[in-house]
């Protein structure tokens, strides 16, 4: 058998390339970003030559109404997308799970949008369904009922663009979360249902409320956690749905869109952008840890 020294070498032969790469492309950029965030670095990625401004960028970011507004946009987006995806994907899983025929077919149909990109979905949503003119599908359908035409993406009062943004993501991701719920449903022992039936629980709402839903607790926690983290990263649909040849409208910039324009837009203000990225990373880390603690995620693994 191998000695401990040889074993350690083998461990690093397997894990080393991955660990080094992860360090180089995740830990190094993070550290560099923290460093760069203390400098007034425009148009340059190396702080040498740039003015040291200490916490100035952080102060500027945290008192910048548009950055704070971008966090508000994220909160609003989360308030829409998390419950909507949760309810739809759970409902799809429950329905597909109880189908007695063509189960695989319907699962595939609901899962298929996962293969579609936000860019392609945005093409369909922006230029075919919600394109705000008469030949748009939404306006055509509403027209059958005598409703007026709506300029979905450019109406800010009422903010109809939210409907467009939320439905794109809902379509793209509900199928994935449905699979997570299906996996959870399959792990519930059938004996529990038999016992519940013997105890007189009526199938349907009662069984769902007192048996199925509590049994899905772990899945629910994971789904909500993933939904919130993913909502924080919203970029693709906002960028592709709202920007046009004239640029990006000032309303509805989630944090990543805001950072994109700060760091890589006309100003190329990489120092400020780095400060924003650090603030965002901290918020996500704290939110994740709090949520994980709150729900006891990973307790079973300990």
């Amino acid at each position: 058998m191998l000695g401990p020294q040889r074993r350690n070498l083998w461990f690093w032969a397997f894990v080393g390339p991955f660990a080094v790469g992860l360090g180089l492309f995740t830990y190094v950029p993070l550290a560099w970003s923290v460093y760069l965030s203390f400098f007034d670095a425009h148009n340059t990625v190396s702080p040498s030559g740039a003015d040291f401004v200490g916490l100035g960028n952080y102060g500027a970011m945290l008192s910048d109404a548009s950055f704070l507004g971008s966090l508000g946009t994220f909160l609003l987006f989360t308030a829409f997308i998390v419950p909507a995806t949760y309810v739809l994907s759970l409902a799809l899983a429950l329905m597909v799970n109880r189908l007695r025929f063509a189960q695989a077919f319907f699962r595939s149909v609901f899962f298929l949008p996962t293969a579609c990109s936000y860019v392609v979905a945005a093409v369909i949503w922006k230029l075919s369904i919600f394109n705000g003119v008469r030949f748009g599908l939404a306006n055509t359908v509403l027209g059958w009922f005598g409703a007026d035409q709506t300029a979905w993406l450019s109406t800010t009062d009422p903010p109809w663009y939210w409907l467009v943004i939320v439905t794109v993501r809902l379509w793209l991701q509900a199928g994935f979360y449905m699979i997570l719920f299906l996996a959870g449903l399959q792990r519930i022992p059938p004996q529990l249902y038999e016992a519940a039936a013997v105890d007189g629980a009526r199938p349907g709402w009662q069984t769902f409320r007192h048996l199925t839903f509590p049994q899905l607790r772990a899945t629910s926690v994971a789904v909500v956690l993933l939904l919130v983290i993913n909502a924080f990263q919203a970029f693709d649909e906002f960028y592709n749905l709202l920007s046009d040849a004239r640029g990006y409208p000032p309303y509805a910039r989630p944090p990543l869109v805001y950072l994109y324009y700060t760091a890589l837009g006309r100003d190329q203000n990489l120092g400020l952008g780095s400060a924003g990225a650090v603030i965002l990373a901290l918020i996500i880390a704290v939110a994740t840890v709090v949520q994980a603690r709150w729900f006891g995620l990973g307790r079973k693994e300990e």
Binding site: N8, W10, F11, W12, F14, V15, P17, F18, A19, G21, L22, F25, T26, P29, L30, W32, S33, V45, S46, M95, V109, F110, F111, L112, P113, A115, C116, S117, Y118, V119, V120, A122, I124, L127, I129, R134, F135, L137, W171, I179, L180, L182, A183, G184, A218, V221, A222, Q233, N240, S243, D244, L256, L259, Y260, A263, S274, A277, A281, T288, K300
Partner: protein
């Protein structure tokens, strides 16, 4: 009476599932419908379910537009998606196996250092990563588009979980036969763990093909555009050719839909075994 109610409930559920399925398929239909229609048909004031004329020449026309370098973009996307998938699966499976099977006193520290990066979503590090890649001179290069994305903590985690649950007897037999870690891995573990390779590979491939922010930031020259960036640039352009855009979008998802339909049962199995909700 209870029976009638149950039957009515079941029928209602079936109707609901079918209606939702149709709703989920509508966007795909619109993509194909508009891609094969004439410009007049797309913008006709009275919308029709079927286009009046099917214009198959859209399929060839779209490859000849100099403003939308679709052929080049598809080639770039293919190169990026294939090399990202191969690299990610190789690196993450080796690391996952090492973490699961080779005893090392500080393995837990290494594992948590890897797991910790999951909390820092890749999208949040795009500013610092851009800084790094641009200082390496990798802007608009295949290296810059692929290498930084190869180290997926998520993939490593899935492999580790899978190998932890892998039957040890097979490996023990190989060890008795005198095979080292390396040969045990290649000859015994890899051939017996094909489902997890297929699952992770499909997820990574779809992610790499559909990636947008990173290619947008790094692939600045037209030569380096992926198909997603090319499409996006085209949507925000002024002189928009709708039928061309739709057929290009349809062409861009065709390879994925095929990969997806062939391999999706592995994704489902992979998700179910990942322990993501344990």
């Amino acid at each position: 009476m209870d029976d009638a109610l149950t039957r009515a409930g079941r029928a209602l559920r079936v109707v609901l599932v079918v209606a939702l399925a149709l709703l989920f398929l509508v966007p795909f239909y619109l993509l194909v419908r508009n891609g094969l229609a004439t410009e007049q048909d797309i913008t006709a004031p009275d919308w029709t379910f079927f286009p009046r004329v099917l214009q198959w020449s859209n399929l060839t026309e779209v490859f000849q537009d100099p403003n939308l370098p679709l052929g080049r973009a598809l080639l770039n996307s293919t190169l990026i998606a294939v090399s990202t998938t191969a690299g990610t699966v190789l690196l993450a499976s080796l690391a996952g196996y090492g973490l699961a099977r080779i005893p090392y006193p500080h393995a837990n520290i290494v594992f948590y250092a890897i797991l910790g990066t999951l909390m820092v979503p890749a999208a949040v590090t795009f500013v610092p990563s851009f800084v790094l890649v641009s200082s390496l001179g990798w802007i608009s290069t295949l290296r810059g588009l692929v290498i930084p994305t190869l180290f997926s903590a998520f993939a490593c985690f899935i492999f580790r979980q899978y190998f932890l649950g892998f039957p040890r007897e097979l490996e023990d037999a190989a060890r008795v036969d005198g095979l080292g870690y390396w040969r045990t891995y290649w000859r015994i573990v890899v051939p017996n763990a094909r489902p997890v390779f297929a699952a992770v590979g499909t997820i990574v491939f779809i992610g790499a093909w559909n990636a947008f922010l990173w290619p947008l930031v790094i692939g600045q020259d037209q030569e380096a555009w992926t198909v997603q960036v090319a499409l996006s640039t085209f949507t925000t352009a002024q002189n928009l050719n709708l039928h061309e855009l739709f057929v290009a979008a349809a062409v861009s998802i065709a390879p994925l839909v095929v990969v997806f339909l062939v391999l999706q049962r592995y994704i489902v199995a992979g998700v179910e075994r990942s322990g993501i909700d344990d």
